[in-house]
Symmetry: C2
Subunit: 215 residues, 2 copies
């Protein structure tokens, strides 16, 4: 029934797969722009295709529907953010926890400021869209949770001893960082980034000193 042609003809010097990949990437980038302008819910497939300079046919070539594109866009932002943070953290010794967290926060907030459209996708547009998107969002939260908690191997025991829920505890810390980002974005990035980082550090540092440092 369906002709499964593994590799198509070359066109303007580029292969079939690469052309597809480039169109897909163009659509994701266009989606960021449109989402940033009118939000996900105000973004139609037509508008995104127009922004990308492509037609609807190529949209459905790469994405099953509009929601799939949102998922891909979120994934792209998440991937870029984590890789930027990892890159910034790479040259550091992991002994100084305070510095690690500070650099991670600085990188995170800096990236959000440099890419306001992506920030909107990452912080706002993703929630409450559908159960599937919620799941993607919470997977990302859990991933960050695990990355953070990896620095404190005995956190689970400590939490249990104190009568806390470790997952919710991590959610709370992430929520603090995210809400600070939201407030910062909303205010048009008015606050200097050093102050933003310092403010987040104040909360995380207090928690750290309370629960992680030796008495």
């Amino acid at each position: 029934m369906e002709a499964e042609q593994k590799t198509g003809r070359r066109y303007k010097g580029v292969s079939n797969e690469q052309r597809r990949a480039e169109r897909r990437q163009k659509l994701i980038e266009a989606a960021m722009v449109v989402y940033g302008a009118v939000g996900y819910h105000g973004a139609s497939v037509r508008a995104i295709c127009a922004e990308a300079g492509l037609t609807e046919r190529y949209f459905y070539e790469s994405f099953e529907n509009g929601e799939a594109l949102l998922a891909a866009a979120f994934g792209a932002v998440m991937e870029r953010l984590t890789s930027e943070v990892m890159a910034a953290l790479a040259p550091l010794s992991t002994l100084d926890m305070g510095l690690v967290v500070r650099v991670a926060l600085a990188t995170y907030y800096s990236q959000l400021r440099e890419n306001p459209n992506e920030a909107r996708v990452f912080l706002v547009e993703i929630l409450g869209v559908s159960p599937r998107m919620d799941a993607i969002y919470w997977d990302a939260i859990r991933q960050v949770s695990l990355s953070v908690l990896r620095f404190s191997p005995d956190a689970a025991e400590r939490a249990e001893a104190l009568g806390l829920d470790l997952d919710l505890f991590a959610d709370g810390l992430i929520g603090a960082v995210v809400q600070i980002a939201l407030g910062w974005v909303r205010a048009g990035y008015a606050t200097p980034i050093e102050t933003v980082v310092e403010t987040a550090m104040a909360i995380l540092g207090a928690v750290n000193r309370q629960f992680l440092s030796p008495p």
Copy 2:
């Protein structure tokens, strides 16, 4: 041109104004149900009217459009939450800050559990809808900020001395509490409420001890 009749005819024993008010209330309650089921973006005016047992005409009698209803619903939830918290706090002496915060959190989380639909409206559906709704959301955040910071009159000076942004600091604390609520709701309220409160208290308490208690 327009006949400005201040008060209409009575009907089934109730006045014109009261009938209007009851219909409006019914629409708000129906909106909670529909929002809870399919989200704000999946909720059509028709569906809400059907749930309320009213026709579209009465919708536009009370609300200019669907977004105005969302705003009214959010306002109703916000009002109820604050009044519940105030009522729980009323019999307390305000001297024991820890207890005040604990009771406030317990009331807040308890209310969210008892009204899952309202929780969804309050926590998820409101953000990223439109600039107007964003403004309403942030007004609510600021209102909570001010209520909290009222307990610490010298917070502004302390924050400045430490190089922090007080607004963002408050955003962070609220974000922690809210994200814990989100995680709790998402997990189907599985965690006992005492544990949830304790987990939030762990964060707020650590911050409090670090920045508010005498050294």
